[in-house]
């Protein structure tokens, strides 16, 4: 056999490995059996109905959405400022500052969770949804900085100078030229932060007070075998939601790339 064929075979096996959990999720979500295992029984929508009737789940979802939206807005705003500073200005200590802001990218999440927990309790604050937002903003900001830095860098600086030269103020230039051209990056940053926050468990588990987030709720339910099939249904919905968000972001990015004729420079991350 040619080496190329072996290569393709490996890639095939790898993709099966990669997709196995994601593909099993919907399989069990529609499986008419209260135990999550093979062999499969019939088809049912029952597990989705169960979700409708679970009040606690709705509360957890609302909490998570609130956290994710807040995180997306704050992390993206902080990301815009830092990315702009790193891509347009040179200042002493720039490398160190940017490196420090990116640290959460490689920090184990448990360290982030633990250290925030310690500080919040020491300062005498109560744990709440907002304490989770604090942690999520910290881990999402580096992603936003990375995405937005590349957006700012691919923006020709002379476009801003041209606007200024043609008589606009710096502020007007930012809104008329810079923003429209980096908007796809801003949308990507928001959606990625939103998705990360919605799914984040380790930090949320440390920082959650009495109100659970969606992952914290799921974690609690994993102990009860009879809850598992409906969790599969929930996971399926979440997966579809994430993919829809990502596809939307990609669509907007492509459309704006087409509209402005800027070279398509790859997707997310």
């Amino acid at each position: 056999m040619k080496s190329g064929t072996w290569f393709k075979l490996y890639i095939g096996v790898f993709l099966i490995f990669l997709y196995a959990p994601a593909l099993l999720l919907p399989v069990f979500a529609f499986n008419d059996s209260s135990i999550v295992s093979f062999p499969l029984k019939g088809f049912t929508l029952n597990w989705f109905n169960v979700l409708w009737e679970t009040e606690a789940l709705h509360t957890a979802t609302k909490n998570s959405l609130l956290i994710a939206v807040s995180t997306a807005i704050i992390a993206t705003s902080l990301g815009i400022l830092a990315a702009r500073a790193s891509s347009r200005y040179k200042f002493r200590g720039q490398k160190a500052v940017m490196g420090f802001i990116m640290v959460p990218l490689v920090l184990p999440e448990i360290i982030v969770g633990v250290s925030l927990l310690v500080v919040i309790l020491q300062m005498g604050f109560d744990l709440s949804l907002w304490t989770i937002v604090l942690g999520h903003v910290l881990i999402c900001t580096p992603f936003c900085v990375a995405i937005l830095s590349s957006a700012f860098l691919s923006l020709d600086q002379s476009l801003e100078e041209a606007s200024f030269d043609l008589g606009r103020s710096k502020l007007a230039t930012f809104w008329l030229v810079t923003m429209p051209l980096v908007l796809p990056g801003v949308v990507s940053a928001m959606l990625i932060s939103f998705t990360i926050s919605l799914d984040e468990f380790i930090i949320a588990f440390f920082l959650a007070g009495t109100e659970p987030t969606l992952p914290v709720y799921i974690w609690g339910q994993l102990r009860f075998p009879q809850k598992l099939p409906s969790l599969m249904a929930l996971g399926t919905i979440l997966l579809i939601l994430s993919l829809t968000l990502l596809a939307t972001a990609e669509y907007f990015r492509r459309r704006s790339a087409r509209k402005t004729g800027i070279e398509d420079a790859g997707g997310f991350l």
Partner: protein, 361 residues
């Protein structure tokens, strides 16, 4: 001549520890086509950007139309710029690009529309207003950039290597168009270029820059015929350099012995930088002639061996090693009817004249 439109006095510019401009002084006349010429990295863009207001000067002053620009930011200076990359806003149509500056001036819509159409017509883009700007070709983008700046009727238009991204044919066409446009609108143009031919053919006056300093500021003819030093002479066209020893410097002339050519008496105005031990003799290729058999022997005649022949059709360039000189000189000859073209290794008689020799430092 009226007052200068731009007066640059004593401009220094530092980037950190690196000095990009050294004590630049210049006056640019109202309505002229002015070029900043120099090798890449000599500070042309930097100087243009200090005029536009994108860079603060470290010392010195920029004055435009008699007004100090010390505290005037770029968006309030009476200058507009055509960027090297053209900087056409990709998310706006051609017309929106051209209207961009007018909208900032809060001009009524109808007036903007008329002005935009007139500007597009002026640059040969009538009817292109609704096109998406990113769908335009390089030459067309450049015209959009011109229209966008000219529509604001600036006192000075700054152009940073606007032609360097175009292919040869397009570039030559745009050179003549730019020149015509400048005459038509009567606005002062300052063009940055590293292409000496472009600068010579287009400009009224040229400032030649080296390593952050202006080497010479003069008309194209004067730059070519009377370069003030070796550096300028080498940058503008081709110049042959020969060793020279000055034997007598009295009475406004210099008696010289030029290596390979011979004795000559050279008037002081052909030695713009004065004379000392470092001086060399410079002579242009077209100021040397290959003499044929019909030419009788003259006093101003040297001799050498042809090293290389470059035949261009209308012209022939020879590399000739003059007797007693270790490097060849270049000689250009028009190929008129009946003139024989010499070959390699042929012995050549070289005619010259003292009036075409410069003494340069």
């Amino acid at each position: 001549m009226t007052d200068p439109i731009i007066r640059l006095s004593g401009i220094d510019k530092f980037y950190g520890d690196f000095q990009a401009l050294y004590n630049v002084n210049a006056e640019i006349r109202t309505g002229e086509f002015f070029s900043l010429l120099g090798p890449s990295g000599c500070g042309k863009t930097t100087l243009l950007r200090t005029i536009a207001g994108f860079e603060d000067v470290s010392a010195g002053h920029v004055e435009i139309a008699g007004q100090s620009m010390d505290n005037v930011p770029a968006n309030r200076r009476p200058t507009n710029m055509v960027f090297q990359s053209y900087a056409i806003f990709p998310h706006m149509s051609v017309a929106e690009n051209v209207a961009y500056g007018l909208k900032a001036r809060k001009m009524p819509k109808e007036q903007i529309k008329t002005a935009v159409e007139a500007a597009l017509k002026q640059v040969g883009l009538a009817g292109y207003g609704d096109r998406a700007s990113h769908a335009m070709s390089g030459g067309q983008r450049q015209r959009v950039a011109l229209a966008r700046a000219l529509v604001l009727k600036p006192k000075v238009l700054l152009l940073d290597e606007p032609l360097s991204a175009l292919d040869k044919k397009m570039r030559e066409q745009m050179q003549s168009e730019l020149r015509h446009l400048q005459r038509a609108v009567g606005i002062t143009f300052i063009l940055v270029t590293h292409d000496q031919e472009e600068a010579l053919t287009m400009s009224d006056r040229i400032a030649v820059m080296f390593e952050g300093r202006i080497g010479q500021l003069a008309s194209p003819q004067e730059l070519y015929r009377r370069p003030v030093n070796r550096e300028v002479a080498e940058f503008i066209g081709v110049m042959n350099f020969l060793n020279v020893s000055v034997t007598n410097g009295a009475g406004g002339t210099f008696d010289c012995e030029i290596a390979g050519l011979g004795k000559a008496t050279i008037p002081a105005e052909q030695a713009p930088g004065g004379v000392d031990a470092s001086v060399t003799a410079g002579v242009r290729p077209e100021m040397l002639t290959i003499l044929s058999d019909e030419n009788s022997r003259s006093e101003r005649e040297a001799s050498g061996i042809v090293q290389d022949v470059y035949y261009y059709g209308d012209m022939t360039y020879y590399d000739v090693q003059l007797d007693g000189v270790d490097h060849p000189v270049t000689i250009s000859m028009r190929n008129t009817a009946g003139r024989t073209v010499l070959s390699r290794k042929d012995r050549a008689r070289v005619g010259w004249g003292a009036e075409s020799v410069l003494l340069l430092k």
